[in-house]
Symmetry: C2
Subunit: 336 residues, 2 copies
Amino acid sequence: VKRRPTIIDVARDAGVSKSTVSRVISNNGAGVRDETRLQVERAIEKLGYAHNAVASSLRTDRTNIILLAIPDITNPFWPDVARGVQDVMDREGYAVVFANNDWQGQRERMFLWMARRNRFDGIVINPIAVSEAELRTTAIPAVLIGSREGYANFDMVGSQSYQATRLALDHLAQLGHRRIGFIYGQGVSRLGYSRLNGYLDFLQEIGLSKRDEYIVQMPFDRAGGFQGMQQLLSLPQPPTAVFAANDILAMGALQAAHQAGVPVPQELSIIGMDDIFAASTTTPPLTTVIKPKYQIGQHAAYFLLDRIHKRGPAEPRRKFLACQLQVRGSTGPSPA
Amino acid sequence: VKRRPTIIDVARDAGVSKSTVSRVISNNGAGVRDETRLQVERAIEKLGYAHNAVASSLRTDRTNIILLAIPDITNPFWPDVARGVQDVMDREGYAVVFANNDWQGQRERMFLWMARRNRFDGIVINPIAVSEAELRTTAIPAVLIGSREGYANFDMVGSQSYQATRLALDHLAQLGHRRIGFIYGQGVSRLGYSRLNGYLDFLQEIGLSKRDEYIVQMPFDRAGGFQGMQQLLSLPQPPTAVFAANDILAMGALQAAHQAGVPVPQELSIIGMDDIFAASTTTPPLTTVIKPKYQIGQHAAYFLLDRIHKRGPAEPRRKFLACQLQVRGSTGPSPA
DNA sequence: TTGTAAGCGTTATCAT
DNA sequence: ATGATAACGCTTACAA
């Protein structure tokens, strides 16, 4: 029976005390004579010693693990954000693990509890069901991705989605569209509301009346976009342009138009949001609004680091990055 | 200054010993009088006590966390597999966290070290760079997803990809195709080799000579498929059918065909592999080979649980699930 | 059924 | 620069 070696075994083999071994390992050798350090390193090598982070965490109360909680790993929006988070966190020595909840609130809670029980050092989350109070009782520094009402005490990083909505709708209006549909996702959250508001405000501003049948809410995935568009196309007077709350929905919508034989953009314009990679490869390529995904991830990481190290202002911070219109082939002049 | 409460605080408040508190928490009350248990539970509630899994793990040497290491979170193949793993692991009380390495071997290693240092209980991995030896020194029960040469000591779960390749090529051959191209991914690994072999064997069997210019290796993503197809189309005598090693590549290829104005399937047939959701929504919808993704995940979890609990056979186990042809619109009779 | 006490493998404090 | 020693918060024999 061979136990895993501990620093005590290493200390014995190197002929020093375990404190010295610990110094070599965690302060990477600061305050240790070079010769001694080498001795210890040789012993570590020889015994195949592996640092026990669990014991270390118990003592230091830090794990160097960050949880990134997202609803839908299938949406290519997230990997870009994740890269931003990881690139920053990596440099600071944190590992970022993903927690995908598949739009299930229960799963989201489960992961939050796991993070708490295992004393993860921070959380970056796009919340779907968890309340601010729950997030607070987690007692782990957290920053939110996206814009949410009712999380006044947390840092938040997202994009200017109201502005982004306007960008999209303005584009359609300038092309002469007057019958503009809107497809957005349901989820348990308020996600999409700022876009819905942007949509409603805009209609009013340019003097169009709201038509309830032009607003459809569907599951936040490609199939949802597909269904949503089918529903819009089945109307006696379908819209000539459709704004989808994200590219995934828009791609589903585009697919539905294809299947129904409606030419895009000649008879129907479709615009999305996010600018995921796939948006550029549809037929026709999707007009959309570019969201600074990677930067969102980076800023979330910066905020989180400040929280973890208790530096920076105590009040919650907000950062909403600007978006940009990306015109491609799925939008064109209104047929009317 | 308010410390986080420990079982000692709870014990004091409830007027019992900390062993009793521990029993209430971890054996969920077995061997504790109901009355005492209630007392303890009240104290837990009152103090807002949260179990410290780090301390617990140090003692028990178990964390109840499983690492799922994958190369490319962007590929919708993985979420389905992940769901299979999670659904099984959930029931056993394990949390599954994702480690996405973006095809970077260094990242993969980093996560493996994290899993080791933090004493994760198991690993499900689709390895890209890490060797069997490295995986072994991790000293954590692991099972591999996919079929790989040179990991003789590990359980492996995947699909019958050689058979799957034949399914695809047979379909093309029956449609009369004689000039069949092959696009596969690079990655650092041998991934795709069984498919390459299947391809070469098949050509030989039906009496076609291998044409090197028909075999292209590209990055394992949509852009790779796009480029690969461009390359094939630029040949003096391009293939009439292309087999792509997965749907992502196939979708990129389809896109390239569209852009080049080559009608699919009239002048060019494209077949993929995996049957990710998006494959059914391209124009035309993609003919592909269905892989039992969810089941692969489930079986990997079963194997892993057996390893963790040291039950089941000691020898490495293999499970390769059968695939199935899914004919859609992207394949048709050879134009020749 | 409950309590006592000995670890688990570190890090941090204080001497030397 | 190094060593002794006391935590960190929990689980688990063993005893009562």
